[in-house]
Symmetry: C2
Subunit: 228 residues, 2 copies
């Protein structure tokens, strides 16, 4: 599903060039459940943004489902982002003036679903993350962990085949984290959704079957295991 | 230092009233190092906002250093927030158009420090969290964990006697988290700074000498221990 070769990302800030990613190559098959770990600033979110078609690499190539992403125009990239990929942002990126329910409905607007179906599917997604009683709250009326769960529900509502989650449990207590990881496990096993989770916690990585570690923009280890 | 009696906080949203805090009473002495834990949505950030004089309770009282906070006017509250309290926000709350260095300097502007001293102290604070090479980056040029560390540095730069940190390690890898908790431990032991940390992780709570647990807006347990 994902094939990256010699990927590089350089931020040019005038006097300084930051090598956020340096010659990264990897393959991820359909249906895998992968954890990405590594020190703060080691390039994990930068990689996730490229995988999610939100950013372009400086060097190297990225093929998604056999399509060279560099060849796509803006409309085609928007189509992929809305239909093929669910993305949980490290900073949530919720719309601050709209309710939890409306935030979760946003990806469904592109699919041309009817208003009743949008509402029903968004409510189901909120329910799956334990938030059905907060649907009308706007983000600043929600706790940090509740905002994070709205971002997760929004990433799930389109049932996209690829789920990219950048530290989805950073603001959640252990019981709620376990519920979210059980949900991801079920989606991976029953719906075959390919899932890539960035995490700092080994308790979370334990749910996956492969752990890729980054340091200074490079992959330093890539280990497969049987999930518990 | 801190004396809270029968503290309550109700959010009135029309048809629904959310009891974010319900009859909370507790005392925290000078020099304590306390962890606050509990499920997502259980009231931790709401309590921290009241302790930090950023919000008022609906019922009950809060005495800080023997002053009844309800008696203070807006200027006196601003004075306390800037001089007596360092606050690490769960969502960081950095100014998006100013650099890491300028963000960390903000609390020093109120103290009337000279420009050279402000810069030197802000640089020292950034260095203490491992960010001296990122001083000119603005927040969206920083990783999630780097933004979190800028928020920590800003909370430390005034050397305030009370440090309130709402999930300060949520976006940090384990090595960087340990460095931050070692820093907090040193500040608590050598400078006598009273520290209250909201955390979801028992590895982080282990650095403290007292753990207070919340559930549905109430304290359900309060245990002291000897730190490792
Ligand atoms: N402005 C508001 N209006 C209405 N309800 C609110 C508001 N702010 C918070 N709440 C509600 O109050 C409750 C407590 O929120 P709080 O932010 O204190 O939780 P928390 O313990 O910090 O959670 P987390 O661990 O997820 O950060 C939540 O159920 C939340 O939905
Ligand atoms: N727009 C930008 N301009 C300049 N440098 C940037 C920019 N975005 C990120 N960086 C730098 O690139 C490096 C990698 O950032 P990235 O966000 O990928 O790290 P990360 O592994 O996700 O870290 P964390 O675990 O803290 O979230 C960091 O050193 C960061 O300072
Ligand atoms: Mg990141
Ligand atoms: Mg909170």
């Amino acid at each position: 599903l994902i094939e990256i070769q010699n990927l590089g990302k350089i931020y040019d800030l005038g006097e300084v060039r930051v090598h956020a990613l340096d010659s990264v190559s990897l393959e991820i098959q359909h249906g895998e459940f992968v954890a990405i770990m590594g020190a703060s600033g080691s390039g994990k979110s930068t990689l996730m943004n490229i995988l999610g078609c939100l950013d372009k690499p400086s060097t190297g190539s990225y093929r998604l489902g056999n399509i060279d992403v560099a060849e796509l125009d803006r409309d085609q990239l928007a189509e992929i982002r809305n239909r093929k990929i669910g993305f949980v942002f490290q900073g949530f990126n919720l719309l601050s003036r709209t309710s939890a329910l409306e935030n979760v409905e946003v990806p469904l607007l592109y699919a041309g679903t009817s208003a009743e179906e949008r509402r029903a599917r968004a409510l189901a997604a909120l329910k799956s993350v334990g938030l059905e009683h907060r649907e009308h709250h706007v983000p600043n009326q929600l706790s940090g962990g509740q905002q994070q769960r709205v971002a997760i529900a929004r990433a799930l509502v389109n049932q996209a085949p690829l789920l990219l989650a950048d530290e989805p449990t950073g603001n959640l207590d252990s019981k709620t984290s376990a519920e979210i990881m059980d949900l991801f496990t079920m989606l991976n096993r029953t719906a075959g959704i390919t899932i890539i989770v960035v995490t700092h916690e080994s308790d979370i990585a334990r749910y996956t079957r492969r752990v890729i570690r980054f340091l200074d923009g490079r992959i330093v280890s890539d280990e497969r295991s049987e999930a518990a």
